[in-house]
Symmetry: C2
Subunit: 212 residues, 2 copies
């Protein structure tokens, strides 16, 4: 194997788009989801995000990063205005439609319509879920933490409601996302299904983990 060594200076000398592809790839595979929102005038918005992160389980918190000066600003505005949003997993059947939501539509056009995805309202939750998604989370906005280094923000919310396929939930709380068709992404535009290697037992100092 021939190794390529690239330094900070090498990357900074590249044109913007090439550097974006590289830096978005080098972090590894990512969660990719659709975030659904609605403003007080009942205009819906749907946008794809690949920066979803687990923040903590007690209480159940989930986060994502947003660039306030980008096409993502409609999502941010709606979350600030209403305090509510949904996170919907993407599967093989809808990944092209999900990608299409990243196109630059004007404020008064819903990406649900343009990407042929269906708004779904569950148990009086204000923000729209994506009907075609198999793993859905209703989130209440808790905190926006700015990253001064580059002007992005981390939005953190509390998990209020989840809708998942019954058979994907295991007795120990693990959700088999592969079984339910959730996919992963890499870089800015690459989508992948997964194939399980193993679940491994809790690691202890004196023994190798076993398959569980």
């Amino acid at each position: 194997m021939i190794t390529t060594h690239l330094t900070y200076d090498d990357l900074m000398a590249w044109e913007h788009r090439k550097r974006a592809n590289f830096v978005n790839s080098i972090g590894g595979f990512k969660s990719v989801c659709l975030i659904g929102t609605k403003n007080k005038a009942r205009q819906t918005n749907l946008a794809i995000f690949n920066s979803i992160v687990h923040i903590g389980a007690n209480p159940p918190l989930i986060g994502f990063f947003i660039r306030p000066d980008s096409v993502e600003r409609h999502t941010l505005e709606n979350i600030i205005e209403t305090g509510t949003y949904t996170i919907n997993h993407i599967n093989e059947n809808i990944f092209v439609q999900a990608h299409q939501t990243s196109a630059r539509y004007p404020r008064d056009i819903s990406e649900f319509t343009k990407a042929n995805l269906t708004e779904e309202y569950l148990n009086d939750f204000f923000a729209p879920f994506v009907k075609e998604s198999t793993q859905k989370i209703g989130v209440e906005f808790k905190e926006k933490i700015d990253v001064p280094l580059n002007g992005t923000s981390l939005l953190i919310g509390e998990i209020k409601s989840t809708y998942i396929p019954k058979e994907s939930l295991k007795d120990d709380g693990f959700i088999d996302l592969e079984e339910s068709g959730t996919i992963t992404s890499s870089g800015l535009d690459s989508y992948h299904t997964t194939q399980k290697l193993a679940r491994l037992s809790y690691a202890k100092p004196d023994q190798w983990p076993s398959h569980i």
Copy 2:
């Protein structure tokens, strides 16, 4: 398909470990990497993290979340002390060893030794890389941002150096991680290889994206 609906109260009523499995799963597939550090006394440390996130490309920034009161504290202490760390992707050949680094070893024991992984020093970078990894990043610590909601912290660093297989780097800056064997994780303990569906073209309002 039968859907299970779980609320915040349902999750909070579960015992800690079950809730941790669930909330760590519901966010989707994740990047899983080994973070290598060394303190000033030259004691090395290696720890697995599944909370790596892309922060931005200009400048190239990468982040991860850490729980300061956990087994992860050695990593945090070394980063604060030396300002430097490495992020190393995990492949199918080393995922069991990588998982083993999460066992609770004392401060003066290196997980490199206990997990049968090899320290590698490249171009005078202070922190140790993992020789068995095929995608490696040398990072300079820039900022620690605390999350008051639950006491975790986001550590952000600048990408100073990368070592990747020559053939995995494409002309447009995209890195084919699947080709080089990088794997993904879900929940706290599940590891998966990937199978590419497609790369999609930049989304524009008036046309569906095409495969690139």
